[in-house]
Subunit: 201 residues, 2 copies
DNA sequence: GTCTATAAAACGATAGAC
DNA sequence: GTCTATCGTTTTATAGAC
């Protein structure tokens, strides 16, 4: 038997470190404000390695970081929306968790992609598309949970959009005002929107 | 009689042009990604004038631009929430108007402060405070309209926060996916939230 | 107050040794 | 594949003429 050959290029530890460091710095300080050197220092990686793994430089790393953030949070949402639990309570719980996370990080960490998405929406098309795909994947998770709970298909998509908007809008207001209150207020409304969506069957 | 002496420093045409240009470029391309030279070119102003009117440079101009955007949009919201019209219909109309604006500008213009606010939330305290004050002034406009419509005080503040979150979250999703649909969906929910707030009196 | 020339530093990216 | 030295540009900011 020949030894197993993993698709090495996508699984390099160096590559992964660069992506994780980039996502963290981009989400906290912004994409444009984060220098390549700061990413390399955070990832404890020398200059040349970045251009080995990402020939397209900062922009290609940005696309990979956005895609990674999208996948990680999609996994988180799947965990927080277990099919065997009350979907209304799970919705409000997700907002409470987001509020706790914000307070624990001095209002730095909530959605890892919102800042980047707004920055690149009109200036970097590949990154914009990566962010759009990430948001769509989250909406799909929400929608499928609502469908599993018995919501009508056309309502499930609308409620998913509403939950997303409330979550992201509350994250903006909470981070800017350094207050967890908007997240709690929006969470109650999101739970109510889910309840209303289920009621109109 | 002595000739009238306006408080000239704050009303200079050059100063105003710099602020307007800066706000437009910051909101479309981001604060960090916008160079001082691009602002000066847009405002048709030579280099030295910026540091005459804003000794603190780009950051001081940023604070003024955020404050200006906050005032302009507070005025817009006051116009869109006239006290003599149905506040529920006015709420949904504001979202429809935002959707139309997004489509007319290829999804560039919605909230002029959201991108900047997220960029500076953890990196520039004076700008963060300016953005927080702007958002608070908008919430106050919403709240007072709901109070005028007969909503209970504690509910009015909550509904104002919900309308804000829905509007900002929908702007993020609409700009990122280049679709007006989230704004229309969120608008219906916002109108419903206002109706619910009025019903529980 | 307006404008230009320039400084000092940081930027993203590359070349080439190992 | 790793690492360093450096290139060429662009950045914010300043000095000083007008």
């Amino acid at each position: 038997m020949s030894e197993q050959e993993p698709p090495a290029e996508k699984q390099s530890a160096t590559r992964t470190r660069l992506i994780v460091s980039a996502l963290g710095l981009f989400s906290r300080n912004g994409y444009a404000a984060t220098g390549v050197k700061a990413i390399l220092a955070d990832a404890k990686t020398p200059y040349g390695s970045l251009y080995h793994w990402f020939p397209g430089g900062k922009r290609e790393l940005g696309v990979a970081a956005v895609a990674h953030g999208g996948e990680v949070y999609r996994g988180l949402f799947e965990t927080r929306y277990p099919t065997d639990l009350d979907v209304i309570a799970a919705t409000e719980a997700a907002f409470v968790e987001a509020a706790d996370m914000l307070e624990a990080t001095d209002f730095a960490d909530s959605c890892p992609l919102a800042t980047i998405a707004l920055e690149v929406a009109n200036t970097d098309e590949p990154m914009r598309q990566a962010a759009a795909a990430a948001f769509e994947s989250w909406l799909t998770v929400f929608e499928q949970r609502f469908l599993a709970a018995g919501m009508k298909p056309d309502r499930a998509r609308e409620v998913a959009v509403n939950v997303f908007c409330l979550l992201e809008g509350a994250a903006l207001l909470a981070r800017t005002t350094k207050s967890p209150v908007p997240m709690h207020v929006a969470g109650k409304t999101a739970a109510k929107a889910v309840a209303d969506g289920l009621a109109t069957n």
